[in-house]
């Protein structure tokens, strides 16, 4: 019996240790989530401004066409998937990777029809194991990534579209809805199709002076806009990651508490049983002497 009690005691201690860790991770994730949310917030004015400018430029120059605005027949598709570097975030990476794999299987017959860019070690490991053609990756991104951290992969992704290596570019990432809800989404980034539709209704038709020319301004702006969209998707994904990790660690902490309760009950039962047995032995011994 004493053996059994020691076993249970040991188990309680180890679950308590786990609980401490998960609790700490939950709190860290909560703090990082707040920072990531602020960061995503503060990136918004830039994206919005950029969209505004491009929309008004596109509206003001109806006749100007740019390859990044034109849909062409799709022969090959690019995907850019954003995952995390670390696990312990519940279904965070699983969900987004499943979305990617399902889309790819549904849409493409062979591996020649698509290429994948990946951010985050989890995604990179997964895709390589699955033999999915990864042509660009970046891992080990900090918790609050700077634009310069992803500049090269992003320029590559946008540049390859411009060079007609592929004819569409999709973003696959976890959309941040609120701290406890994330949803894997798949958004078409390129070609930029629905720009300027809202603006064209209002009379924002400012007649701009362009230097050097409207075409050249657009050709500088559009790639940068696409890059900015990817960056804000990354920031959103980071916020989602911390939200997911916070929820997962919260659950783990709750489960650990529950387990500690169950083990404590078991431990007390075993202790009582041991005492009862000891008493019975003493009484038995005493009555044998009479």
């Amino acid at each position: 019996m004493a053996e059994n009690m020691r076993d249970i005691k040991r188990r309680i201690t180890s679950v308590q240790n786990i609980k401490q860790i998960t609790k700490a991770m939950e709190m860290v994730a909560a703090a990082k989530l707040r920072r990531a949310q602020e960061k995503a917030e503060s990136a918004r004015p830039y994206t919005e401004k950029m969209r505004e400018v491009i929309a008004s430029v596109a509206v003001a120059t109806d006749e100007v066409q740019h390859p990044m605005l034109v849909s062409r027949p799709v022969k090959k598709t690019g995907y850019l998937v954003i995952t995390s570097d670390r696990g312990l975030a519940g279904g965070f990476d699983g969900n987004v990777l499943r979305t990617l794999v399902q889309t790819v299987e549904k849409r493409h017959g062979s591996k020649d029809e698509y290429v994948v860019f990946v951010m985050g070690r989890k995604g990179s490991d997964f895709l390589k194991r699955r033999d999915i053609p990864v042509i660009g990756e970046v891992t080990g991104l900090p918790d609050s990534p700077e634009f310069s951290d992803i500049k090269s992969i992003v320029s590559q992704a946008v540049g390859m579209f411009a060079e007609e290596e592929y004819d569409e570019l999709f973003l696959v990432y976890n959309e941040f809805i609120n701290p406890v809800t994330q949803r894997p989404v798949e958004k078409r980034l390129l070609p930029l199709a629905d720009l300027g539709e809202e603006e064209s209704k209002s009379d924002l038709k400012a007649l701009y002076e362009y230097e050097p020319s409207a075409e050249e301004v657009l050709s500088v702006l559009l790639p940068r806009y696409a890059e900015t969209l990817i960056y804000s998707a990354l920031l959103e994904s980071k916020a989602s990651e911390f939200g997911a990790r916070m929820a997962a660690m919260g659950n783990a902490t709750d489960n650990a508490s529950e387990m500690i309760g169950a083990y404590t009950l078991q431990y007390n039962r075993a202790r009582q049983a041991a005492i009862t047995q000891e008493l019975a032995e003493i009484v038995g011994g005493a009555s044998a002497l009479e």
Binding site: K39, K49, Y208, P212, V217, S232
Partner: protein, 134 residues
């Protein structure tokens, strides 16, 4: 004196948002000075210091990879990076300048590296100029 709104925004944050009297920037085609009530205008910017005049004082803001938009008495500069004079780490800029210069001196490298080093040098010089002005 009449003023106009100046917003300088990067992907990371809003760097500057104030009423100012004049903005001078280096656009793709050459320097451009903007006073209040300027006609709508869009142009990419070079890596330089943007000169801002506010309440009679002049100061610089380092800007790289940006473009400028003027509309309805609002000047918006969207840039990949932008720093106010007080925010610049002069030592870091110095070492970046040295690195870029070393790379430029080593002519054997290919064109892309060379271009990159030129841009890096330009950025470092801009930062130094702005940093020392503040």
């Amino acid at each position: 004196m009449s003023t106009m709104q100046l917003d300088i925004v990067t992907p990371e944050r809003k760097v500057y948002s104030e009423q100012v009297e004049m903005v001078i920037a280096r656009a793709e085609e050459g320097d451009i000075g903007i006073l209040p009530n300027h006609a709508p205008y869009v142009s990419p910017l070079k890596v330089t210091a943007v000169k801002v005049k506010k309440d009679g004082d002049e100061f610089f803001i380092a800007v790289s990879g940006g473009f400028i938009e003027v509309r309805e008495n609002t000047v918006t500069i969207l840039a990949e990076t932008a720093e106010m004079p007080g925010e610049i780490d002069i030592e870091r800029a110095e070492s970046a300048k040295r690195r870029a210069e070393e790379r430029l001196a080593d002519r054997k490298r290919d064109d892309i590296d060379f271009k990159r080093a030129e841009i890096a040098l330009q950025k470092a010089l801009t930062r130094l100029r702005v940093g020392k002005s503040g």
